[in-house]
Symmetry: C2
Subunit: 76 residues, 2 copies
DNA sequence: TGCGAATGTATATTAAGCTTTACATAGTGT
DNA sequence: ACACTATGTAAAGCTTAATATACATTCGCA
């Protein structure tokens, strides 16, 4: 049973590393609302790859450094 | 004017490099339907980062090697 | 002590990812 | 000619990402 995606992210850590960038600042830079950033940080959902890449780009890191799969082995 | 995401992908190329893996095989390995793979290949949409990472993992490459942002500069 | 800035919670609504089913076309082999 | 496999198209439906709005909390600061 793996209906929920189970993805970890280091958004908050990176924001803090980036001179304490706020959720709103980050949202503006990638073109989404603050709610979206907050929900991703809280693990409430699994963003599109486009958004994920823009986020990683803001921090100058790879997508895989910002998001991690749950490593449940298979896909189910 | 970049409301639509505009993401390029190298899914087909990678499939062919991977010994001609079929859309169905790939779909099975990442746990989605063939339609989903086809639609992504055709650029009809922008998968979730979870799926993008599983796809990249199948080919042993980074997400950024499989998907590319439109490079429109900003987010609009 | 009260204001503003940053984060969190809640809920309702819209947009888009993904599934399911069904059919159509092109290539391959017998 | 017929069957089989891989790919493409299309539409209906479900689930979830993302928006919008509103309010609550904590903190620093004038």
């Amino acid at each position: 049973m793996k209906s929920r995606e189970d993805i970890r992210n280091h958004l908050r850590r990176q924001r803090l590393l980036a001179d304490g960038m706020t959720q709103q600042d980050l949202a503006d830079r990638v073109g989404v609302t603050r709610q979206t950033i907050l929900s991703i940080e809280k693990g409430k959902y699994n963003p599109s790859v486009g958004l994920a890449m823009r986020l990683a780009q803001v921090f100058g890191i790879a997508v895989e450094e910002l998001f991690e799969l749950g490593e449940g082995g298979g896909h189910d």
